[in-house]
Symmetry: C2
Subunit: 361 residues, 2 copies
């Protein structure tokens, strides 16, 4: 395999500094808050003088930055979310990691940041996972959340692209992101992204922009917002940390990707799994009015979110126009069915006919 | 004055660590690239446990941050741009600084970040300016650019507002931001902000989002983009680092502020100066078609940008729909007239009838 050969040749060139001790003994894997506990090592590679420098693995640690580093001022920062799984034989698996590599470069390009080479990405990622493999717990629902990200480090506050960047990978052991059912608000006033904007990118600024409207939703008892198109608020788009699927009778409906909507890897996997199961998937604009009418006449069977952190997250109610719609529980829901099929593939418990699993060895 | 009393009482409580040496001897004030040289000190105040802690002034220096600090991942970062001026008697002046304090809190609120108290803001700012006053060069065109900013520091990568923040002020001696005439492209495909989004805030993510489209414009020979509304691209809005004014015959036209457009302090000062000069100002939507038609029939006399960094920046040409429009040079332009009036007020060379100057003493 060509990629494997590239990685092996690079591994020998990775500058590796091992942590002298491990923090793992202090971690309660049964009680993990999302994204607060990090493994013993991290991967770091700096972009200087027009090229990516010596990639390094070092103990996870705080780092120094100039107060004028452009990331603090102009939001030149992109990230990815991935997970590693351990099967019952102790093998480590990634899920469609090439899609994450491709997407972080799409995000970077949109923010005028340099692309990160595939061989560096995989060599760093796989070496890091092998060094911190004890942090990956086996069992459905357990994973190691992987956060590759790139930030602009150049110490200069003029509003233009930086000349220096840092690519990093940090890892955090994870349980499910949302536990329990999720209640959502359909956006009527605030927006997540503009046509011609950066909504399709995992750009840092897309996230901060959602926090305040989401806090208003939370005050009303909703965990998330399903964003609508910025211009009319008539079409349902995505949830910011998840793409969204609607089941109407036995059809599955989801919005097409666009420059406003993230091309989710879990989203496209769910679409494929649905097709594998003979379920009709309609990728088209989703009018708010249609979903409300379907909720009223009983044809709306399910709404669920899909994303790497959230996996598949059933939605139990939505509010729009001061009207609350409860979605009754459903036996054998698509959400539970596709979530199980997805997790079985991720944890090496079932056939992987689309070649989505990637073993780290 | 109540504010002054607050500041004086706070000054005694500021934790001040003076730099042992100054870097000023190494600075060539005649050849300053914007935003790359910083003064000897900076102001720092952390938000922890729900409140702003002891404010500090310390030597300008790099600082340590966790790789998981939320600012690196979710773009929770806002900033301001201000300038300090030194008059011929050596007095130091700020221009409408209360507007900057008000606006950084408006920006923070939109990104679910805590507001920064007015007394801390002014005590930190004024003490810092007095300590670094040698860095402020007298003379029109010279200033000390001041960058207050707030970043989310909490080391946790869940997509929600941070619980800890750092407010900082750093300062950089400046000449004019754009030198020479500026050629601009009217946006036809990319967008800066959405209705219901964060375009009105000085949110970090708004800036990175402009870099790639601007780089495409630069390849075509344009320094800046004038952004249009995201939905139709038919109305001219702002330039990302500047608000935009159009002079048609003897009237001045500019877009109204909205949730997409920054409420620029230079913008509102220019509007006031125009009115003081008996110039009719129309604050209304500005159709691209109207400006193109005015350019064709000769009634478009000027376009200029207005912003703290750029001050007043004349625009000499624009392109839209693959058509290039050159704007002939004009004697006694509004741009040069209002720029002079503005700078005279800023440098304490003329009467300040609106009370815009604020002495630092």
């Amino acid at each position: 395999m060509k990629l494997k050969a590239m990685i092996n040749s690079l591994n020998t060139n990775l500058d590796i500094q091992k942590s002298e001790t491990s923090k793992i003994e202090n971690v309660d894997f049964e009680n993990l808050a999302f994204g607060r506990t990090f493994t013993d090592h991290m991967f770091v590679c700096d972009f200087i003088d027009g090229k990516w420098q010596q990639p390094k693995i070092m103990p996870y640690q705080a780092m120094t930055f100039e107060p004028s580093a452009r990331v603090f001022h102009y939001g030149q920062a992109v990230f990815e979310g991935m997970k590693a799984y351990k099967d019952n034989a102790g093998k480590i698996w990634l899920f469609r990691p090439e899609a994450n590599h491709k997407r972080i470069n799409i995000s970077s390009a949109r923010l005028a940041m340099p692309e990160f080479p595939k061989d560096y990405f995989f060599a760093g990622l796989e070496t890091l996972l092998k060094m911190d493999k004890e942090w990956i717990q086996p069992g459905i629902g357990n994973s190691l959340y992987i956060r590759p990200f790139v930030i602009a480090t150049e110490p200069a506050i003029s509003a233009s692209p930086a000349s220096t960047y840092r690519f990093m990978i940090i890892c955090s052991p994870a349980k499910a992101y949302y536990s329990g059912k999720v209640r959502v608000l359909f956006a009527e006033k605030y927006s997540r992204s503009a046509d011609g904007g950066v909504g399709f990118a995992k750009a840092s600024g897309n996230y901060a922009a959602q926090f305040y409207p989401t806090s208003l939703a939370q005050e009303k008892g909703y965990q998330q917002i399903i964003w609508t198109d910025a211009h009319t608020h008539e079409y349902l788009e995505e949830a910011g940390t998840m793409n969204i699927f609607f089941r109407i009778d036995d059809r599955l409906v989801t919005a097409p990707t666009s420059d406003r909507i993230l091309d989710g890897i879990t989203r496209k996997s769910i679409i494929q799994l649905a097709e594998d199961n003979g379920v009709t998937v309609e990728i088209r604009r989703v009018p708010v009015t249609e979903i409300k009418e379907a909720a009223r006449n009983g044809s709306l069977k399910e709404i669920f979110g899909a994303g790497t952190a959230a996996v598949v997250s059933p939605i139990s109610a939505f509010e729009h126009g001061n009207e609350v719609f409860e979605i009754p529980d459903l036996e054998n829901s698509y959400a539970s069915k596709f979530k199980k099929q997805l997790q079985d593939i991720q944890h090496n418990l079932s056939e992987d006919k689309h070649g989505w699993r990637h073993e780290v060895k």
